[in-house]
């Protein structure tokens, strides 16, 4: 086994009883290690550096906790441990590759949210802060019973240290229930974040996902949505805007398993600096899923000469009575549009940023909650070239 001693050390520090319980998943990780670039799903993302990475068992935290969002409850994890809020950690069940197995073996905490039948839970802001040369592994589980409703924001931040974060979120959405799931991924420039989101949607239930991925040395998100029963719906939207030397890899898989299921997917990419963006959007329509209606749309802009994008919108269809379409484009900002804005008195940077912001807003406009949307807009604006002031942009938008 080539994986570094760092993982073994953390494993050995776990209590004896826990280790006995998690023996199988640990052995799975030892056997398989991290996925390799020779695997089709990982051909653009190389994790080999993680094999001999070195992490301290503990590190002091240097990030200050940001102000809470108005009207939101909050739960804060720091380097894998809870520091604010009180919920019981879930059992780790999903472990089907090296990363989820490592996560299952080493996780110490996470969110376990259960919303009862017909209930509506307050919006929950789940904030993860990582700092120092350390690892954190979180395991979350969300269960929405029939007819219930919930809003959840998964927000990951970090400082400039080389942290490794893995997180697995398992979601069960019961019949006619409705989940709004938001993600902000904003870790430091040296940090690695590997996350998996696994969502099962039951009859007539709905998931609305909006994600914003801003960076990190290596970010990979696997978002799997299973439309398991008739009438299930998924909206999967996201923006990825890596800059500097970031590597951001998004893999979405929408699995239509039952008749009359619907999915909508919109992704916008803004790739700056020498960043490398990877997008793989897969839609599978199984034989039973007649009358599936699925649309996928990806548009990306390369903002600088060293930027790179690898995109693959896949369709895999085994049923005949379906409507499936996907489109993907890659290009650059329209000079005429910039000229138009400049002729209206905007300077070049503002004009450009305004257009970039509007481009990403195709996705962010789908966030219903005002506080959350503004937070996402603000974070995106701060990453635009020339670091445009968010307020200035909003003024521009209104004018």
């Amino acid at each position: 086994m080539s994986a570094s001693l760092a993982y073994l050390q953390v494993w050995q520090q776990l209590p004896e009883a826990l280790r006995a319980q998690r023996d199988a998943v640990w052995r799975h990780f030892e056997q398989h290690g991290f996925p390799r670039v020779s695997e089709e799903d990982w051909r653009y993302t190389d994790l080999s550096a993680l094999n001999d990475a070195d992490y301290a068992a503990d590190a002091s935290v240097s990030i200050t906790t940001p102000a809470a969002l108005a009207g939101w409850q909050r739960l804060v994890f720091c380097n894998g441990e809870r520091i604010e809020g009180a919920v019981q950690a879930p059992q780790a069940t999903l472990a089907d590759d090296g990363i989820t197995a490592l996560n299952a073996a080493l996780c110490r905490d996470g969110l376990n949210l259960h919303v009862g039948r017909g209930q509506q839970s307050a919006p929950l802001h789940l904030l993860t802060l990582d700092s120092g040369r350390t690892m954190s592994h979180l395991r979350h589980r969300v269960v929405l019973e029939a007819g219930s409703e919930a809003t959840l924001l998964i927000d990951t931040r970090g400082d400039d240290s080389a942290t490794l974060t893995t997180s697995v979120l398992e979601v069960e959405i019961g019949a006619n229930a409705h989940l709004r799931l938001l993600r902000i991924q904003d870790i430091g420039t040296s940090a690695t974040d590997l996350s998996r989101t696994q969502i099962r949607v039951a009859r007539d239930a709905r998931v609305e996902y909006v994600g914003l991925d801003l960076g990190g040395a290596l970010v990979r998100h696997d978002l799997n949505v299973q439309l398991a029963e008739p009438g299930a719906q998924a909206q999967v939207h996201g923006v990825f805007a890596p800059s500097g030397r970031s590597h951001v890899d998004t893999h979405t898989r929408i699995l239509h398993q039952a008749p009359h299921t619907t999915s909508r997917e919109i992704y916008r990419g803004l790739v700056g600096g020498r960043a490398h963006a990877v997008f793989n959007g897969r839609i599978v329509v199984e034989k039973a899923a007649q009358k599936t209606d699925s649309e996928q749309n990806l548009a990306s802009l390369l903002l600088s000469p060293g930027a790179e994008i690898n995109a693959k919108p896949e369709l895999e269809i085994y049923a005949d009575d379906v409507k499936c379409a996907h489109g993907a484009t890659c290009g650059q900002l329209d000079d005429m549009a910039i000229y138009y804005l400049r002729s209206r008195g905007l300077d070049a940077d503002t004009a450009r940023n305004l257009l970039l912001f509007a481009f990403a807003h195709d996705v962010l406009a789908h966030v219903i909650d005002d506080a959350a949307r503004q937070e996402m807009e603000r974070r995106l604006a701060s990453r635009l070239p020339g670091s445009a002031a968010y307020e200035g942009l909003m003024e521009g938008l209104i004018a």
């Binding site: 034989k287 390369l302 600088s304 005949d320 409507k323 489109g327 993907a328 290009g331």
Partner: protein, 482 residues
């Protein structure tokens, strides 16, 4: 007896004329692949040492390679040691003596496609004069071509007549170790075409299989090289709309195209090999490597393919757009019916400035057919202002079939503009209803809608092929509806 003797003499004479095989006795190497087999093939063909070295190098590389499994197709493992890698053309006595001896099913298909009787005989491999007719036609054509300075011959002949050209271009687009099947082909290829169009020459005729002088039984490992020098152009037609008699199960061809400054190559394929029966028994495995290299400025390579045959198709005609302002095109119609599987598409590698590529792919899946579009558009950092437009549409007929799209895009230059669009749908009930209400039968209506769906590709085919391709789709779709 005398007649047979006469025929054999004629065959001997014909082969002599083509100039690459003098020994006509039906002769096959024992099944199996080893250095010995390769030396045998090379010796039989009286090849120079450098070609034998090329084959052996490829074979040694092939031994180290593993069979690719990434394609979205399923088939039992191929036993490469059970295949005979060299067989001389079948002697006339093994062939049917007249059309009466030919499988009536085959004849019925010919009739539906509207193929003239003489050509039917040729296609069914009937041992009559028509074969020799085609030789004589071929000879006339050859004279016209020679006058224009165009070289069009079998690759074996080219090895002897134009060794410097073959040596220069063989393996220059598809290297001997490019992929598993290309390596196999490089080791054991038996024949194929060689086309060389010199500087400033427009090839005076379309080079088509119908009158192909060099292509009886080229076997399963075909190697074709087409070179267009500066300002030259050629249109090459491969294959045939009619189902062809063929005993080989595995086909692993390699096609290499080279276009220099301002050259244009148009390569059209109609492939209709035996697809196997309704239950998927038998059928050809078609594992092909086709690649064009736009080496010069403003060069253009255009691939057009209509793929309706073969049990399994694994084929990605590609363009390397190396020269500035060069253009690559790919137009494809693929149809899978019954239990056919196809994994096909293209690769467009943009290297030069202002390079443009267009991909139009139409997939039709019926019965229990399964097909995938797999394409790659790669824009390298050097490819300023590259442009790509991709459209791939799939049409599903029947609840048991599958259609998949795997388009890869890799962009490393910010000035690039790429568009990719894909749709999947079935034939609309309302469209069918409308056509039937106008008095068309359901089958005719489907065929009409399918042909409309493929229009963008058919219009790229040479005229007479386009007409036949439409009929071919109609025939291939029989039984898929209703």
């Amino acid at each position: 007896m005398a007649a047979t003797q006469q025929m054999q003499d004629l065959v001997k004479a014909r082969k002599y004329e083509a100039g690459f095989i003098t020994d006509v006795e039906s002769e096959s190497a024992p099944p199996g692949l080893s250095e010995e087999t390769i030396r045998l093939i090379s010796a039989k063909k009286n090849e120079p040492q450098w070609l034998l070295d090329f084959r052996l190098k490829a074979y040694r590389r092939w031994l180290k390679m593993t069979e690719p499994t990434w394609a979205h197709v399923h088939y039992p493992k191929i036993d490469y040691q059970a295949i005979s890698y060299y067989s001389a053309p079948k002697s006339m006595k093994d062939r049917p003596k007249s059309l009466d001896e030919v499988d009536p099913k085959l004849l019925e298909t010919y009739k539906k496609l509207g193929i003239p009787l003489r050509e039917q005989e040729m296609l069914a491999g009937v041992a009559v004069d028509v074969v020799f007719d085609s030789v004589s036609v071929g000879t006339t054509f050859k004279a016209t071509l020679a006058k224009a300075g165009v070289i069009f011959c079998s690759i074996s002949e080219a090895v002897h007549e134009h060794p410097e050209l073959v040596k220069k271009y063989l393996g220059s687009v598809v290297p001997f170790g490019d992929n598993y099947y290309a390596a196999l082909n490089s080791a054991v290829f038996t024949d194929g075409s060689f086309v060389f169009v010199p500087k400033g020459t427009r090839c005076p005729m379309e080079l088509s299989t119908y009158f192909r002088i060099n292509e009886r039984n080229t076997g399963q490992f075909e190697r074709t090289i087409i070179i267009c020098e500066e300002g030259a152009s050629v249109s090459y037609l491969e294959g045939c709309t009619a189902p062809q008699r063929d005993e080989n199960q595995l086909h692993a061809a390699v096609v290499e195209l080279v276009a220099l400054d301002d050259a244009t190559i148009k390569y059209s394929t109609v492939q209709n090999w035996y697809p196997g029966d309704e239950e998927g028994r038998g059928g050809i495995y078609n594992f092909v490597t086709k690649r064009g290299d736009c080496r010069g400025k403003r060069a253009k390579i255009s691939w057009t393919q209509v793929e309706t045959g073969s049990a399994i198709t694994w084929k990605y005609p590609s363009c390397i757009l190396r020269g500035d302002d060069s253009v690559g095109e790919f137009y494809s119609v693929a149809l899978t019916n019954n239990r056919q599987q196809a994994d096909t598409g293209t690769k467009m590698i943009h290297v030069g400035k202002n390079t443009r590529s267009t991909i139009i792919s139409k997939g039709i899946s019926a019965g229990r057919g399964d097909q995938s579009y797999r394409g790659l558009v790669r824009i390298l950092a050097s490819a300023e202002n590259a442009r790509n437009y991709t459209q791939c549409d799939s049409l599903l007929i029947g609840a048991e079939c599958g259609a998949h799209t795997f388009p890869y895009t890799e962009v490393r230059n910010k000035s690039a503009r790429l568009e990719h669009e894909a749709t999947t749908s079935k034939i609309g009930e309302d469209q069918l209803y409308y056509a039937r209400q106008r008095g068309l039968s359901e089958e005719d209506a489907v065929s009409m809608i399918v042909n409309g769906f493929c229009k963008d590709v058919f219009k790229e085919l040479p005229m007479e092929f386009a007409v036949e391709a439409q009929k071919l789709l109609q025939v291939s779709l029989e039984g898929a509806v209703g």
